[in-house]
């Protein structure tokens, strides 16, 4: 039986790696994948907490998170495709159109 705090610690580490990936990388696709990593880390924490509390609510919420992640990926990739059509170079540093 693995203590639940190990799961939350692993979840925290994975989440932080995802945060650093979003901050460091310039390729929008890699940034998207880092966001997926963060969502997964949060899911792992949900399941671990739900297991510890003996409640299925954590798993239900993970189900919803997966749905939202699927919708988010579809829309995000469509936006990236639309951007790629008009530009040659791909770096989020160039996408300053809507920046203040």
């Amino acid at each position: 039986m693995v203590p639940w705090s190990y799961y939350t610690a692993l979840s925290a580490v994975l989440f932080v790696i995802g945060v650093v990936g979003v901050l460091v990388r310039r390729n929008p696709l890699v940034i998207f994948m880092s966001i997926e990593l963060m969502l997964n880390a949060a899911n792992l924490a949900f399941v671990a907490f739900g297991r510890q509390l003996g409640s299925p609510d954590g798993q239900v919420i993970v189900f919803f998170v997966m749905t939202v992640a699927a919708a988010e990926v579809a829309v995000g990739l469509a936006i990236i495709v639309a951007i790629f059509r008009t530009r040659v170079r791909v770096s989020v540093d160039d996408l300053t159109l809507t920046r203040w």
């Binding site: 039986m1 693995v2 639940w4 705090s5 190990y6 799961y7 610690a9 692993l10 925290a12 580490v13 994975l14 989440f15 932080v16 790696i17 945060v19 650093v20 990936g21 901050l23 460091v24 990388r25 310039r26 696709l29 890699v30 994948m33 880092s34 997926e36 990593l37 997964n40 899911n43 792992l44 399941v47 739900g50 297991r51 510890q52 509390l53 003996g54 299925p56 954590g58 798993q59 239900v60 993970v62 189900f63 919803f64 997966m66 749905t67 939202v68 699927a70 919708a71 579809a74 829309v75 990739l77 469509a78 936006i79 990236i80 495709v81 639309a82 790629f84 791909v90 770096s91 540093d93």
Partner: protein, 163 residues
Amino acid sequence: MALAVFVLIALIAVASALGLVLRRNPVHGALFLVLNLFCVAVLYLMLEAEFLAAAQVIIYAGAIMVLFLFAIMVLIPGREELGADPLRWQRLIAVSLGLFLLVEVGFLFRTRLMPAERPSAAPGGIEAVGRRLFTDYLFPFEVTSVLLLAALVGVLVLARRKA
């Protein structure tokens, strides 16, 4: 035994996450992310969430990552982040901010936000999840269908070529 499996899977998960962030080629990053998702699925199995483990493999590794790989292959054939990083100093700040966040989260988890370390009864598997999903969480469940429909329509509008 379970602890050994957990340590092994955790090491693979962290290594693959680092691979995603550190490798320059986005295709390698996507494959590392698939490995990471499989590791999380194994952890779900260890947490007795069998349904989520299957859904993780089918939805994430099966559908979402295929979409990612398609986008990578279509959009940037071999085009990596080349050239000098114009914002090199930002990396140091980013990594130090990440470490700071890790310390913060670790500190948060050390406080007693949960009952003490005692294993409670199992949540009851897919049957309990399904029952909860269609009773207490029925409205959110219906809302997700609207969300998926909105995403579908939005993607069609966004991806359409200008006539």
